[in-house]
């Protein structure tokens, strides 16, 4: 599914607001069998992060070691490529987290 460049453009400000935020993992999973636009990435880890009492975020965890895959691990929001745009599409960048 091609992503609209307008949608990517509108999304940028939302992404920017999250960069650098830190939080802790409240639940996680390692995906071994992914849906089709994510097959090249498997296995990958998805986490739900609690940034503060009123704010949570669902995203991938990157640069992890097995010891980081636990509830309570502190993580930081960073910029990475998200979906595969194919050969011609605009490249979407978004939030992923890494352990700190």
């Amino acid at each position: 599914m091609t992503i609209s460049p307008v949608k990517i453009w509108r999304n940028q400000k939302k992404v920017r607001a999250f960069l650098g935020k830190t939080g802790r993992i409240i639940t996680w999973t390692k995906v071994h069998v992914p849906p089709c636009s994510f097959t090249s990435q498997a296995p990958y880890v998805i986490i739900v992060v609690e940034i503060d009492k009123n704010l949570r975020f669902t995203a991938q965890l990157v640069d992890w070691e097995e010891t980081n895959l636990k509830t309570g691990q502190t993580v930081k929001a960073i910029l990475r490529k998200t979906r595969d745009p194919g050969l011609e599409g605009v490249i979407p960048y978004g939030i992923k987290f890494k352990p700190i």
Binding site: T27, T29, V31, T58
Partner: protein, 385 residues
């Protein structure tokens, strides 16, 4: 509420390579019509529950599509709510009849999923999640895996307890001639099956299936005019509730708030307690979903459902008996059909025609149909008249 189920039929669920959606629907329609003792022309409106025909097949206009296919020149409406499209189609029919505008309604649930590769279907199903979840590659198994881990860490629910759900449902399905998987399995087999999204393994997950179900509902007065001597089965509650689309917006990941809200209202409308339910069909898209359903529906206290299922409390012979059809896991989960199939199963249980999987003296039943990871919930309560 005065809505009567006149008849209902499920097709076989499974990998039905040879059978098109048109043929699936025609089969269940004709069978249902026959059992209802009605004429085709008595149907006032058609509701079609389906999720993926547009994304996978490019055809969205299903109301008109099937009305034509079935030779019904009647109002026809497609209803969608991810995996509870079927339940919402039933709810829509209830609304239509309750309004007085229609007397009888045909409800169809249909889904054709095996025409495409599983990865493509998984991708299409992600449309039920939030934007963040879709960007992260959170497939359905991943979303319920996140929920499962939260439940395991909060209550100590174990992978064995989750596996017990699949084992029970496969056992029930072995008694259901229309189920996709009729083979009994063991807890060990579930635990050894390949990891899909930790901690959910292949046998914790419902399959990709084809199938259709049909129901004919009518107002009580219409039902009485057709079958004067049989009080039949009535829908006494039909409740829908919504929660946040994505998991990151939920307050507590170990419960589906929409289910709690809808079921509380449903019990009230029916003037009953959870303890009055004899038999239930719940949305076990993943084994953890059934455990959480038991708790959300008030059948077992929070954190105790896993143990109860492991001990066989919801198996044939126990109470409430859950998923005599085999649930989504073993009977199959043709997404749009499931919500309708659940009503058919409870209807048959309350009418006493469920054969080998009959729950003795079943008088009150419940169906629990969920869209997405809990964003929409549809609860129906049925009573023997």
């Amino acid at each position: 509420m005065q809505i009567t189920v006149l008849a209902g039929l499920n097709s076989k669920f499974g990998e039905l390579w040879d059978i098109s959606p048109r043929d699936l629907v025609k089969e269940v329609f004709h069978g249902t019509l026959k059992n209802s003792n009605m004429n085709k022309n008595d149907i006032d409106v058609v509701f079609v529950g389906n999720m993926l025909a547009g994304t996978l097949g490019g055809q969205n206009h299903l109301g008109a599509f099937f009305a034509e296919e079935l030779g019904l020149e009647r109002p026809a409406i497609r209803v969608e709510g991810a995996c509870c499209s079927g339940g919402l189609a039933v709810h829509s029919a209830v609304l239509g009849i309750s309004s007085g505008i229609y007397q009888t309604a045909l409800v169809i649930g249909v889904e054709k999923m095996t025409d495409h590769k599983p990865e493509k279907v998984a991708e299409a199903l992600m449309g039920a999640g939030s934007d963040l979840e879709r960007d992260a590659g959170a497939s359905f198994p991943a979303l319920y895996a996140l929920i499962a881990r939260a439940h395991m860490e909060k209550y100590g629910t174990s992978e064995e307890e989750m596996a017990a759900v699949a084992v029970k449902n496969h056992y029930h399905a072995s008694l259901n001639s229309h189920a996709q998987f009729r083979n009994p399995i063991s807890i060990e087999k579930v635990l050894k099956s390949p990891m899909i999204a930790s901690p959910l393994k292949l046998l914790d997950c419902s399959p990709i299936s084809d199938g259709a179900s049909a129901l004919i509902l009518s107002s009580k007065s219409k039902a009485l005019s057709l079958k004067k001597d049989d009080p039949g089965v009535n829908i006494v509650s039909s409740v829908v509730a919504t929660d946040t689309l994505g998991l990151s917006e939920r307050k507590d990941l170990t419960t589906l708030n929409a289910v709690v809200t809808a079921s509380c209202k449903a019990y009230k409308m029916a003037n009953i307690d959870p303890g009055d339910i004899d038999v239930a069909e719940v949305h076990d898209c993943f084994t953890i979903a059934e455990i959480i359903a038991m708790e959300d529906l008030g059948f077992f206290p929070r954190g105790q459902a896993g143990k109860a299922i492991l001990e066989g409390k919801t198996r044939l012979g126990g109470r409430p008996v859950v998923n005599t059809s085999g649930g989504l896991k073993a009977a199959g989960h043709p997404v749009g059909a499931t919500g309708v199939k659940q009503i058919v199963e409870i209807y048959q249980q309350l009418m006493g025609v469920s054969g080998k999987k009959q729950v003795k003296n079943a008088k009150i039943g419940l169906t629990h149909n969920v869209g997405g990871s809990g964003a929409t919930a549809v609860i129906h309560i049925l009573k023997r008249g």
